[in-house]
Every structure is written in structure tokens, then in C-alpha cells.
């Protein structure tokens, strides 16, 4: 396969894992984050330490030999866990805040992670960290994509997932329905951070080079935009949005300077013209489409009967 095409596929696959996590948080639970690049950064840097530093340390200090792939497996798990633990701490501090402020707090978190990394010489500081081992393969990424899609699907179609959607729809009514709103927000945040951590770990060991600016606020915004572009509350939309928005800039590579102009414009047009995104609120599966159709038909059928009582306020 053409190396360039392969690279785009791998990057799409890695993005997809992070965006799926964010889709659980944003699309299904209704919390917006502008700091998820921070969780990716944690995953990346922890993984880099595990694959580029740990084997040497073990060798020289303890005379132990760590296989590269074993180190890599450890790296992905450690990156995911680290991101998860940090998200739990962040969640305890910020999840009680109201929407807008939660958003700003996550943004502050993401930037803080970046600035801290800038100041740690051990991981390369602001100049970045080069020549990491290349351990991520295209088949691994695609395999993990399938796994994470299944996990997301199973989560959303369980009582925990439905409770998250209830939190998004109407927080107070969710509480009155016996749903622990705080706990479900926390679960969504931790799951999304773990996904981002895995994506970060895979990325570090694929492009072999990481630098704090790669995890700036623009990166966080990109992830959120992919979720919205595909459609809030839809896993298939998330997949579609990730694929399209990762490929589009590549297609316009020759117009490098203009691609982000188009990108910014596309975001505005989507927000203003089609806020539900490409497929918001439904799934592109046979049963999902059937469900959407029956809902539409049912609505039409009863529209004719008319409102039973004077219209809504």
C-alpha cells in the first residue's frame, strides 16, 4: 500500500479513538471539553517514557530485558490509566461547575498540561522529543478501532449509557429519575480521557516525534469539531465526521494555506446551517434507520390528529 495513504489511514484510526471518547462525553452526555488534547498529551508522553526510556532503565539498573512490544503494550495501558486518573482529579474539581465554566476549566487544564510539558527537559521540553520507536502498525490501529467502536456501542446501549443521555437531555429530570448526575458525568469524562490516552500513546509510537504544541487548544477544538461535524449523539456520525475531517485537509494539501480557511468556514456553516451535524441523533445501521423512519412516520400520522390540548408554550 502507498505509504502516504497508509499514513492517513493510521492517523484517521488514531483520531477515531480519541473522537469516539469525546463523542461519549459531548455527544451523549452533553459536556463540552476544550482540553482533550491534554489527555492525549498525557497518553503520548507516558507512552514515550515507557517505550523509549523504560527498557534502557530496566537494562542498566536491573539487568532486565524488556521486549519492545511488551514495553509498547505497557505504554498504551499506562498512558490510558494516567489520562484516566488525571481526568478523575480534574472531574472532581470541575464537574460541579455549570456548562460554560466547565468548558473554560477544561481549556485551562489543556493549556496547563502543555505548558508543564514545555518545562520538563527530561521529555524534551518545548523543543520536543525525537526518534521514538515506531511500534504502532496499521493493523493494530484498525483492530483497536473495531474494539473501541464496540465498547462505545455497548456502553451507549446500556442503562449507564441511557442515563448519560438523560443527563444531556434534562439534568433535573434525570436526578428525579434516580440518576446520579455527577457520577455519570464522571464516568463519561474518565472513559473519554482513557480513549484520548490510548490515542496519544498510539500516536507517539507512530509518528515517532512529539512536541507540546501538537497538543494545543487548536487540537482540542479539532476533536470537538469532528464530533459536532458528524453529529451529536451518533456513533456512526462520529466515525463519518472523523474520516471526512481527517481526509479533507489531505485532499486540499496543495492548497495548504487555504485548507484551514475552508475548515473554519465549514465549522461556521455547519453550526449555522445544520447544527445536528451530518447524521445527528440517529445511527446509520439498518435498525437505526428503521427507528428514525418510524419516528418520522409516527410524527406525521399524529400531526394530522392535531394537538389534544392548546399548543405548547
Amino acid at each position: 500500500m502507498d505509504a502516504y495513504i497508509q499514513q492517513i489511514i493510521v492517523m484517521t484510526g488514531i483520531n477515531l479513538i480519541a473522537v469516539l471518547g469525546l463523542s461519549i462525553l459531548t455527544g451523549f452526555t452533553g459536556l463540552f471539553s476544550f482540553g482533550h488534547a491534554g489527555f492525549m498529551a498525557i497518553g503520548s508522553y507516558i507512552a514515550a517514557i515507557c517505550t523509549a526510556r523504560l527498557p534502557q532503565i530496566l537494562q542498566t539498573q536491573f539487568g532486565l530485558h524488556l521486549e519492545p512490544m511488551a514495553a509498547f503494550a505497557l505504554a498504551v495501558v499506562a498512558g490510558a490509566l494516567a489520562a484516566g486518573v488525571v481526568s478523575w482529579l480534574i472531574g472532581m474539581l470541575t464537574l460541579k461547575l455549570k456548562g460554560d465554566y466547565f468548558c473554560i476549566a477544561t481549556m485551562g487544564f489543556g493549556e496547563a498540561v502543555r505548558i508543564i510539558l514545555n518545562n520538563i527537559p527530561y521529555v524534551g521540553g518545548a523543543r520536543g522529543w525525537e526518534s521514538l520507536p515506531k511500534l504502532t502498525s496499521i493493523w493494530l490501529v484498525l483492530g483497536l478501532d473495531v474494539l473501541f467502536v464496540v465498547i462505545t456501542w455497548n456502553l451507549i446501549n446500556s442503562r449507564q449509557g441511557r442515563n448519560m443521555v438523560a443527563v444531556r437531555e434534562e439534568e433535573l429530570a434525570a436526578q428525579m429519575s434516580g440518576i446520579d448526575v455527577y457520577r455519570h458525568k464522571m464516568t463519561a469524562l474518565i472513559v473519554s480521557a482513557i480513549f484520548a490516552g490510548v490515542a496519544g500513546a498510539l500516536m507517539a509510537n507512530y509518528i515517532q516525534f512529539i512536541r507540546p504544541t501538537m497538543f494545543n487548544m487548536a487540537r482540542s477544538t479539532d476533536l470537538t469539531i469532528m464530533v459536532i461535524f458528524g453529529g451529536l449523539g451518533s456513533i456512526s456520525g462520529t466515525i463519518l465526521g472523523t474520516i471526512l475531517l481527517t481526509w479533507l485537509p489531505e485532499v486540499f494539501r496543495n492548497f495548504a494555506q487555504w485548507r484551514l480557511v475552508v475548515y473554519g468556514l465549514a465549522v461556521i456553516v455547519i453550526m449555522v446551517g445544520r447544527p445536528q451535524g451530518l447524521v445527528g441523533g440517529m445511527e446509520l445501521t439498518p435498525s437505526g434507520i428503521r427507528k428514525a423512519m418510524t419516528a418520522r412516520n409516527a410524527r406525521k400520522r399524529f400531526k394530522e390528529v392535531g394537538d389534544d390540548a392548546g399548543g405548547q408554550k
Binding site: L155, R159, R299, F302, D308, A309
Partner: protein
């Protein structure tokens, strides 16, 4: 019927800053009964619901549910314990179908954990089937079966109220709080609603506390009525006693001219 009331408020008080929204209110809701909470606009009725369900923190006084204090618990714990409610301005999960609204609220009937859900273990499958059964049953009883697939937001107003009650019933409550269930309804619908409230009580073996402005509804279904004015108790008793109380007539003549 036991002697302990299902709900007892003792000296309940709520202040917002310097404003006393509810001042020293005490009353009981007897097990299996239908009680009414009435009073002019701004009398503090909804505030009392918010205090019972834990949305607001109590300033002073106690809320006893089956003899146990619940006013320090989180709202979702109170709902879990068996106190559910509807809202004056309907709060459904708007973008979900009628079925999913009820399906979601059935969650306390299942025990499976998140790992069982992710791996689709047998208990998950078994309990999910049971939840679906329960949801269908509830929709059937409440006459919403044929609209199960309609998005809540697209239901006619009267059915939205009905769906909200159905959703509250999905938690198997022992005490149901209804906040102006007849608001915006015509006399026919109000009559139906009265019948429905009675049926629900008998079928689900629960107690009901209802806030209402429609006096015919209150007088028709309630066995006991508590009247509030400016956050304080004005009268308490059977519908006949309350209707004959001159203070109640006074309070209502001043405000209720629609």
C-alpha cells in the same frame, strides 16, 4: 394501612437570602392517600416539592419519609428511595422517543454493572429484556403504546404530561408528587386525569401528593388538603373543611381571578 404517614414535613423552612419562601410548614401525607397542596401563586408550593425531592437544601425543619429523615440526601437517592415527581413546566428527555423516556427511567430495576454491559454478559441480556418488558407494560397501562416511537417533543401537550407521569412510575415509587398535572388542560382532559390519578394510586399501591390550581380536580380526587399562603400554612383538612374555611376563600378571591 400503617400509622406512620408516608411523608411528614416538620417545621419545614426555606429562605433565599432574606426572602422566606416557605416558613414553618408541617403536614402529613397518609400512606395510600391522595393529598392536595394548594395555594395562590407564589405561595411556595413548588418550593416544597423541591425541598422534598432534594433539589433545594432545607434551611430548617425536617422531611420524614416513612419516619426517616431524607432532607440531607442527594436528589437521586431520594428518587431511588421511592419519591418521584413531575414538573410544572414539563421536563421530558425531549429528543428521545416516548419508549426511551420510560426505558431510561426503568434503570433502577436492573443490577448489571458497566463491565457486564460492555461485555454483554448473560445478566445484562436477561435484565435488558426485563426492562423492555416493563417499559412496554407501563406504556400499555398508560395508553401510550401506539405512540411509543414518537419523540417526546412531538407528542401533544396532554400526552407529554401523561408520559412524564409514566416515567415517574418507572421507578416504582411509593410516593408520587404531581406538580400542576392539569395545567393547560381543558375540562374533559382534567376529568380524565382525575380518573387516571385514582387508578394509578390503586394499581401501583402508592400515595399521591398533588399541587393544583383547578379546584374541581383537587376537590374531586383529594382526601386531604393542605392550603398555603405566602409560604405559611393557612388551613389543613378534608376538602369540605377547607372549602368552608373563610380564610381560604379570602386568599383565593384576592388572586384566583382568571
Amino acid at each position: 394501612m400503617s400509622d406512620t404517614p408516608i411523608l411528614e414535613l416538620k417545621g419545614l423552612t426555606k429562605r433565599f437570602g432574606g426572602l422566606t419562601a416557605v416558613g414553618d410548614v408541617s403536614f402529613k401525607v397518609s400512606e395510600g392517600g391522595i393529598s392536595g397542596l394548594i395555594g395562590p401563586n407564589g405561595a411556595g408550593k413548588t418550593t416544597i416539592f423541591n425541598l422534598i425531592t432534594g433539589v433545594y437544601k432545607v434551611t430548617a425543619g425536617e422531611v420524614l419519609y416513612r419516619g426517616n429523615p431524607i432532607h440531607n440526601r442527594e436528589p437521586y437517592q431520594i428518587a431511588d428511595a421511592g419519591v418521584t415527581r413531575t414538573f410544572q413546566n414539563i421536563r421530558l428527555f425531549k429528543n428521545l422517543s416516548a419508549f426511551d423516556n420510560v426505558y431510561t427511567a426503568c434503570h433502577t430495576s436492573a443490577q448489571y454493572g458497566i463491565v457486564e454491559a460492555l461485555c454483554r454478559l448473560p445478566r445484562f441480556r436477561r435484565e435488558e429484556r426485563a426492562l423492555k418488558e416493563k417499559t412496554r407494560g407501563l406504556l400499555e397501562i398508560m395508553g401510550l403504546s401506539d405512540r411509543a416511537d414518537v419523540m417526546a417533543n412531538n407528542l401533544p401537550y396532554g400526552l407529554q404530561r401523561r408520559l412524564e407521569i409514566t416515567r415517574a412510575l418507572a421507578l416504582d415509587p411509593k410516593l408520587l408528587l404531581l406538580d400542576e398535572p392539569a395545567a393547560g388542560m381543558n375540562p374533559d382532559e382534567t376529568l380524565n386525569l382525575m380518573k387516571l390519578i385514582g387508578e394509578i394510586r390503586d394499581r401501583f399501591k402508592l400515595s399521591v401528593l398533588v399541587i393544583e390550581h383547578h379546584m374541581d380536580l383537587i376537590m374531586g380526587v383529594c382526601e386531604h388538603i393542605h392550603v398555603l399562603n405566602f409560604g405559611c400554612t393557612l388551613a389543613d383538612g378534608s376538602p369540605e373543611q377547607v372549602a368552608g374555611d373563610p380564610r381560604v376563600v379570602d386568599a383565593y378571591l384576592g388572586v384566583e381571578e382568571e
